[in-house]
């Protein structure tokens, strides 16, 4: 091929350069859904939380609270679409225990709650109770209007002595749309 023809070919190629259909407006549709799994609270309860030194039951219920400022942050209020809570309770008490997890707003009104049951141990061996709790839709709105999480624990006393421990573990998978 002579150089003149080659040059002509290149010029034609340049002049006829084109592109298949693309649409930059699709950028408006771009979204990212991300889920991050984060530990929540953990604790260990023993008989010392319920009985005195003489073994007498002093209280059946406990409550502890944590203020989670990020929950009512506009970012979460606008972007959080789903939470999957995981709870694991390892119980050696012969009694079952009931946990109530409350999401309260700044006025102390409970907007959402979760009730869990830790089965009692019959022979002192650890009994593991696990729960997955999914919150979506209005439940998410309720949670993001709360700013405080309360964990209430009740030991369901029976004739057996209150001796043992309960290990509580929790995490949450937050799904956020960006």
């Amino acid at each position: 091929m002579k150089i003149e023809k080659l040059l002509f070919f290149l010029l034609v190629l340049l002049a006829t350069g084109c592109t298949e259909e693309i649409d930059f407006n699709q950028v408006k549709e771009v979204s990212l859904t991300t889920t991050q799994d984060i530990d929540l609270v953990h604790f260990l309860l023993t008989q010392d939380n319920f009985v005195d030194d003489g073994g007498q039951t002093q209280q059946n219920g406990l409550v502890e609270a944590v203020k989670l400022d990020f929950l009512d942050d506009p970012f979460f209020q606008n972007r959080l679409v789903r939470i999957v809570f995981d709870f694991r309770m390892t119980n050696t008490f012969p009694q079952s225990l009931t946990a109530v997890i409350k999401f309260n707003d700044e006025d102390g009104v409970t907007r959402e709650s979760i009730t869990l049951e830790a089965a009692g141990s019959t022979n002192g061996e650890a009994i593991v109770s696990e729960y997955d709790v999914v919150k979506e839709g209005t439940a998410i709105s309720n949670i993001t209007t709360a700013d405080t999480v309360l964990v209430e624990y009740y030991i369901n006393t029976n004739s057996a002595p209150v001796v043992g421990s309960l290990k509580f573990e929790s995490k949450a998978a937050y799904t956020v749309e960006l």
Binding site: L6, T19, E20, S170
Partner: protein, 456 residues
């Protein structure tokens, strides 16, 4: 605007390299043979170039129109495919002033002023994976902050160079450059990891660990991001306060009438940034396994509710140091470039419209050219075969075929016309992608108008 990658950068350099009939070849090799006695660029038009490239992804990959999938699926597929060695490059240059002349001793002095933007960002694979797939699917995996690597610099360059013909076979040259940093953003020295460990025997499900975190973003020329001003960036082209120096070195040597070799080292220099600088930084270590509730014991009279969240924030702040500060000083090396070429001349003898019409020239030149650029995360290299030939006494062409990290089929060309003293040239690459330019990984375009003349 044409999009290019560093492959495009490589290809475009190769199109102008060793073109002894164009003054711009002296910017790529100050020791190149010079086939003219003086030149004068048309201000702002003597070198307009833009190049962009993306490795392993194209505009079409993301923005194509089809009914099979939607854009988020395509992005997700690319996130899976790309690695932290993939990157995108944008390079733009504009010659503001350009001139040169031959001295009585026969040396060629060239000088000028050009503006250059060079930006590169590596694909932050670990960050993207964490964002798209979450940490639950990668328990025990250390997500690396070092995957965050990006740099952009816009500089104004004043330069003067000299080309000396040592003898009939050997030419050498050097160029001194004074850089004025117009804008800089740099985040290339990030380190540390984020890991979520499964802890069956621990306090909670997981342990989240930030380890040896150290990194940040430095910017210069504009102050903080809240203060970005285009006019300020333009003002920085002359007296911005961010200055640096550098040199180019090069040579060319003719083994005989047919064979020659050349090489150059460009932008061996640095810029010290100290004006309108700002830094965002973070460092430290932090472990987290959730908030531990301490329920009051019945024998514990202290019933005060602990401020768990506040305690956690304070613990985080004690261990992780995040902040921002103004008036930092830092120095960046210029992206040094190494180039070389081996040329073989053949074909009919030519009566050329060149500096020495008596010179024994062959019509065609072919050979190989190699180039490498030092980048923050790697060396970007390319190899190009070329054929250079005049079509007529006033029309030169150069056809190139390059391989690099972006494509193995980069066909480019240069066409240069010279009518009397007026010269215009046009260069473009990756011609094989012209059937669907958006699907190209690399493309470049350059145009120039200037005056070139010989005294003979």
């Amino acid at each position: 605007m044409v999009l290019l990658t560093s492959a495009g950068v490589a290809a475009q350099y190769q199109q102008l390299y060793d073109t002894d009939y164009l003054p711009q070849s002296l910017l790529l090799n100050p020791g190149n043979k010079v086939d003219f006695d003086k030149h004068l660029g048309i201000p702002l038009l003597s070198g307009v170039g833009v190049q962009a490239a993306t490795r392993n992804v194209s505009v079409y990959d993301i923005f194509q129109v089809n009914e099979r999938d939607e854009i988020n699926e395509r992005i997700r597929a690319k996130v899976d495919q790309l690695s932290n060695r993939d990157y995108a490059v944008l390079h733009q240059s504009l010659e503001i002033l350009s001139a040169g002349f031959r001295t009585r001793k026969g040396n060629y002095i060239s000088f000028g002023w050009y503006e250059e933007l060079d930006a590169i960002t590596y694909f932050p694979k670990d960050v993207a994976t964490l964002a798209y797939e979450g940490n639950q699917q990668h328990l025990g995996y250390a997500f690396k902050a070092s995957d965050i690597k990006a740099r952009a610099e816009m500089v104004s360059v004043f330069h003067i160079g000299m080309n000396k013909k040592v003898n009939e076979h050997f030419s050498i040259g050097g160029r001194f450059k004074l850089y004025s940093g117009m804008f800089s953003a740099e985040s290339t020295h990030n380190s540390g990891t984020f890991t979520t460990y499964l802890t069956p025997d621990g306090n909670n499900y997981y342990e989240h660990r930030l380890e040896n975190i150290n990194g940040g973003l430095k910017i210069a020329g504009i102050g903080s991001f809240e203060e970005v001003s285009e006019s300020q960036i333009l003002q920085n082209s002359i007296f911005g306060g961010n200055y640096g120096v550098g040199i180019d070195l090069g040579f060319s040597y003719d083994f005989n009438e047919r064979w020659s070799v050349s090489g150059s080292l460009l932008d061996l220099g640095f810029i010290n940034y100290r004006s309108r600088t700002y830094e965002y930084y973070g460092n430290g270590d932090f472990d987290f396994d959730g908030i531990e509730f301490i329920f009051p014991s019945v024998v514990d009279e202290n019933t005060v509710i602990r401020p768990y969240w506040t305690d956690l924030e304070e613990e985080f702040d004690e261990n992780m140091n995040f902040g921002e500060r103004a008036d930092v000083s830092y120095t960046l090396l210029r992206p040094v470039k190494l180039m070389g070429g081996l040329t073989y001349s053949f074909g009919e003898h030519l009566k050329c419209n060149c500096l020495d019409p008596e010179e024994n020239r062959y019509r065609f030149k072919t050979g190989l050219q190699a180039m490498a650029i030092k980048r923050p995360g790697s060396i970007q290299a390319g190899l190009t075969a070329f054929l250079d030939a005049p079509v007529t006494s006033f029309l030169n062409t150069k056809l190139t075929y390059g391989i690099d990290s972006f494509t193995y089929t980069n066909v480019g060309f240069l066409i240069s016309a010279k009518i009397r003293s007026f010269n215009v040239y046009l260069a473009a690459d990756n011609l094989l992608s012209y059937s669907n330019i958006a699907d190209s990984n690399t493309a470049s375009f350059q145009i120039c108008f200037q005056l070139i003349s010989n005294t003979k």
